[in-house]
Amino acid sequence: MDQFLQSIFGDSILTQLLLGVLPLVFVLVYALVTLYSEMKIAAHIQDRLAYMRTGWHGVLQPFADMLKLLQKEDIIPTAADKLLFILAPYVVFIGTYAAFAVLPFSSAYAGSSLDLGLFYIIAVSAVVVVGILMAGWASNNKWSLFGAIRSASQIISYEIPAALAVLAVVMITGTMNMNEITKFQAGGIQNWLIFGGPLPLGHKLFLLPVMIVLALIYYVCSMAEVNRTPFDIPEAESELVQGYNTEYTGMKFAIFYLAEYANLFVVSAIAVVLFFGGWSSPFGSFMSGPIWDLFWFTFKGMLLVFVNVWLRWTLPRLRVDQLMYVSWKVLVPFALVCVVLVGAIMVL
């Protein structure tokens, strides 16, 4: 992809900018698709039909929603802190979009094949926390502030077991480069890290249960990090109206939503890279190649997004104390034991 763009635009800064903007195009299209499918899936889970009037089965509804949000009046509450209120959605989106820089979409395209890719992704997600706190405080609204504080404490608590799960995978692959981790798992579904990776059979048998537990831990944590049910305490509608973005309208609100959906894909994509072979085809060399790689990466990512949506409309919400209990007393000890087990198996 780099060479292709360079052959068109030459070795200029424009090439780099275009390479950087490509994931943004993906995010916009993906957000529309997910917005539509989430509403449809939710409706079918609850035995409803959802949108039926705008186009065939309501496929034009996300476009209508987008146009509506673009035209809406942009209200800034008089009591709000104007500067921070305006800044917050952009900080949240920048934090989310920064993660796309290292996602390996295909063997031919990754924004940056950073050697510390995984570490980088975990680090930049911290910026989102600051943005959320900024939004909550600047709104000058008790619901917003409570939502922001809950959200920040939740994201911070669940980062620890998530990071431990990531650490265990890094111990197996020996690299934090997301492209290298993907290549490590090449050669078909049996080489995916959730099934123990491409190791000798003895190692694989011992690793298999540990990896499944780790994948589960990472997935639960990722759900908490994107603030979605059963971890949607920060925006619990019945208690807090909408959480940290209660006061936001129009495009600023849309940016928060875009960031939330983009973040949903980021965490799913990390799970895909860590446990489900990244862009590599499940059939070995069959159906592989740059275009197929892009398809597999997006397909696996969307599948995990679907599971997330599915759970959102199936499970009830946790209480705040249960939330902390799950993170500190269940996930962290299990993750620690898994890290030790992985280390022991790899040494043997």
Partner: protein, 172 residues
């Protein structure tokens, strides 16, 4: 545009960001603004680290300072009652000891900077130097093993202390 020019442009943009936001941190009378502009200071410093080929240090900067310390400061600021109405004094106190401390710290930093052999110093090509993480990792568990272990014990003590303080007293 060659890479040296680009290097200079990026450096000056980052340096300006760091200086501007750091002066807000110091001079702002609104404590919340001071806390939030720390975000840009820390980000700018991380950018400077990247520019100097210190990739691991840059990401650790983000992880520890933005993800940990800044969020902690923000929590502290937000949970303090009536934050905005508190009148923060920004006067200068103890000028002489402060000046001595500043000069001493600057002197120590300069001498360390001059005495250190820098990895990849002087190159402006971002792709020449590979990641520094393996070297840092090796150094931590070989030459600096003792310091590493001492730091981990200190952190453990801090965690236990925090848990002790936060623990709810049993009601009779």
């Amino acid at each position: 545009m060659n890479s040296v020019q680009l290097f200079d442009i990026i450096f000056y943009v980052l340096a300006a960001t760091v200086l501007a936001s750091a002066s807000i941190v110091v001079f702002s009378r609104n404590i919340v603004y001071a806390a939030f502009s720390l975000l840009f200071t820390l980000f700018g410093v991380a950018g400077l680290y990247v520019l100097l080929n210190a990739d691991f240090l840059a990401i650790t900067q983000l992880m520890v300072y933005v993800g940990g310390i800044l969020v902690l400061i923000l929590f502290g600021v937000m949970l303090t009652n009536k934050v905005v109405s508190v009148d923060i004094k920004t006067g200068t106190l103890q000028v002489v000891p402060a000046a001595i401390l500043v000069v001493l710290t600057a002197g120590i930093l300069c001498s360390i900077i001059l005495a250190t052999h820098w990895l990849g110093a002087g190159t402006t090509d971002f792709l020449v130097v590979k990641t520094t993480a393996p070297k840092i990792g090796e150094a931590l568990i070989t030459t600096h093993m003792l310091l590493f272990e001492v730091a981990s014990v200190v952190l453990l003590v801090a965690i236990i202390g925090a848990a002790m303080i936060a623990r709810r007293e049993k009601t009779q």
